[in-house]
């Protein structure tokens, strides 16, 4: 099976490279030849304010994403389910799934097209309303940056995320609804007492997965959208590793950061799986 070989080469071989987190990596001496330094990279890391900033940003940003971007597809699926006209439903699905297939670079282009202080449509609208726009480029404004990340995430993935909830809603036995109607439940009550409980297991599993995925998510999105102006709120662990490791050549130090990140991520997923088993149906 070529799959086994490829997985070995591109997933297991790099794990050997992790040992440079405990070394002072020197490209000339190679991975094995470099000197051992024990935990020095890790102590340096825990002393670094920039590392803690990135760690804090990772937590805060993911907190926002989970709070706002995670429920969006659920609400969307519930509302879409209430649409009677099949044609409208189809069209809505076609339109809202689409942005998922665009790259973050292209979406970054949209963000610039909307927010740019000279040419952006937001400024144009401000001018129409003859309101003196602040002429601020929101993308470089650290107060707005996290909101931009959350909104663009919702914009890209709300429709796509709804697929799975819609499938779960379709799977609900219609008899439950009939019974609810006989009990005098209106649409709101039906949603609250039939649909929502029916998709709850799906919601919980995805939530648990999302929490388990906190450490590495959003890397590409942030990489495309951020700039030095917003490092204080937007620099997360992966972008921190990226900048320091690849552009400043601090291989050993950033491998230590990456290892820290992977271990936390792995632990989160293990805990998440435990929890999801408790609420019925683990991930594996």
């Amino acid at each position: 099976m070529p799959g086994v070989v490829l997985t070995f080469i591109f997933h297991y071989l790099p794990m050997y490279g992790v040992i440079i987190a405990f070394k002072n990596y020197n490209p000339i001496k190679g991975i094995w030849g470099s000197d051992w330094v024990g935990l020095r990279n890790f102590t340096e890391l825990f002393d670094s304010p920039f590392f803690w900033r990135a760690f804090k940003n990772t937590l805060i940003l993911n907190g926002y994403q989970i709070l706002f971007a995670f429920p969006a597809p659920i609400v969307f699926a519930l509302l879409l389910n209430e649409i009677r006209s099949m044609m409208v439903k189809r069209w809505m699905q076609t339109i809202t799934y689409f942005p998922h297939f665009l790259s973050w670079v292209v979406i970054g282009g949209f963000v610039v097209a909307i927010l740019s202080p000279n040419t952006g449509i937001l400024t144009t609208i401000q001018n129409w309303l003859s309101y003196e726009g602040s002429q601020l480029f929101l993308l470089t404004d650290s107060r707005a940056f996290r909101a931009i990340l959350v909104i663009s995430e919702i914009w890209k993935n709300v429709g796509w995320g709804a697929i799975i909830y819609l499938a779960a809603i379709t799977g609900v036995n219609p008899e439950y609804y009939d019974a609810a109607v006989i009990d005098g439940a209106g649409r709101w009550k039906q949603t609250l007492h039939v649909t929502l409980p029916a998709i709850m297991p799906t919601i919980i599993i995805l939530l648990v997965l999302r929490i388990g995925n906190m450490m590495g998510s959003d890397f590409e999105q942030i990489l495309v959208l951020y700039s030095a102006n917003v490092y204080d709120v937007g620099d997360v662990l992966s972008t921190y590793v990226f900048r320091l490791g690849l552009f400043q050549g601090k291989y050993s130090f950033t491998t230590a950061v990456g290892l820290f990140q992977s271990v936390i991520g792995f632990t989160l997923i293990m805990i998440a799986n435990r929890l999801s088993r408790r609420v019925g149906g683990g991930l594996w």
Binding site: M1, P2, G3, V4, L6, T7, I9, F10, H11, L13, P14, G17, V18, I20, L80, E82, I83, R84, M92, T94, I95, T96, Y97, F98, F101, L102, S103, V105, V106, G108, G109, F110, V112, A113, T119, G120, I121, T124, W155, G159, I163, I164, A167, G186, W188, L223, V224, S227, F242, G245, L246, Y251, T255, V257, G258, L259, S262, I269, L283, W284
Partner: protein
């Protein structure tokens, strides 16, 4: 059915909400298209919203005449085609093998794959690995690491598992071996899953960005998204660094051109998307419910 006033209001409100949402999805596209078709001065003046002003195709002309842009299109088309075909090959063979209960050490192989979904060595060891393999700064660095995607493989596996086992039994009675069974019996009825994964893989390779930033150094191997990113986020004052490439130099700072580049690089996805949509919804939900 009799509707109460409350429900009728809800229906109207809901429909309105959906309309607004659809607009929110579509307006950025219209804005970008309008800007790409307008003159640069109108765009710079902030005059263009949803309808082109001073309509012209100059930006597109520039894009398609730029050797740098055409080269990156070639690069992207190549990695997309090669990457998609190879992904399908790797994922289908692995998924097929794992869907068979008689496979030796099935659970162990499964764990071997699943583990990579949850733990990775990290960015830097991955980077050093690519260097040591000698594929740094070649297109293989973009294609090979992405071929074995465990999630796609799980989709394939659960697709094969829900097919009736009689199919395979009768074929093996007729003297077919595994490869024949896979190619002659299973593949012809697997259109939905092949289409789904083909689309996902194609989109992945078309949109490839981060690996390109990490593993590609020569500008002549830049895929489309890297070029896009450089153009979109370039300050108009940027220069020098790429001044050698005169035609790149001309491109910076031209707003309608940035927009034209976005439109052109999105087009292929717009074109294939409607044809494959009916398949991927099925493919995704199938995998989701199973796992």
């Amino acid at each position: 059915m009799l509707l109460s006033t409350g429900e009728r209001w809800f229906n109207r409100f809901n429909l309105l909400l959906m309309l607004l949402l659809a607009l929110a999805m579509l307006l950025p596209f219209l804005n970008v298209i309008a800007k790409s078709l307008s003159s640069n001065s109108m765009v710079m003046a902030g005059e263009v919203s949803l309808w082109p002003k001073e309509f012209n195709l100059y930006a597109y002309n520039l894009v398609f005449k730029s050797p740098m842009f055409m080269r990156s299109i070639q690069v992207t088309v190549f990695i997309t085609l090669a990457g998609t075909l190879l992904t399908l090959f790797v994922v289908i063979t692995s998924g097929y093998a794992l869907s068979k209960k008689r496979l030796l050490a099935r659970r162990t192989i499964m764990l071997y794959f699943l583990f990579t979904m949850f733990f990775s060595a990290g960015m830097i060891p991955g980077f050093l690995n690519i260097q040591r393999l000698g594929i740094y700064d070649t297109l293989w660095a973009l294609i090979l690491p992405g071929l074995m995607n465990v999630y796609y493989m799980l989709l394939v596996k659960s697709f094969f598992e829900q097919l009736p086992s009689e199919l395979e039994e009768s074929a093996s009675l007729d003297g077919c071996h595994d490869i024949q069974i896979l190619t002659k019996i299973f593949l012809p009825i697997s259109k939905p899953i092949v289409a789904t994964i083909g689309l996902f893989a194609a989109v992945h390779f078309w949109n490839i960005y981060v690996p390109a930033v990490m593993y590609i150094q020569s500008p002549k191997l830049y895929p489309l998204q890297v070029l896009n990113q450089m153009l979109i986020f370039a300050q108009s004052s940027i220069d020098s660094q790429h001044a050698a490439d005169q035609d790149m130099h001309n491109m910076f700072g031209s707003e309608n051109l940035k927009m034209a580049v976005i439109v052109v690089s999105t087009m292929p996805i717009v074109i294939v998307y409607p044809f494959l949509q009916k398949y991927f919804v099925k493919g995704v939900t199938l995998g989701a419910i199973k796992s």
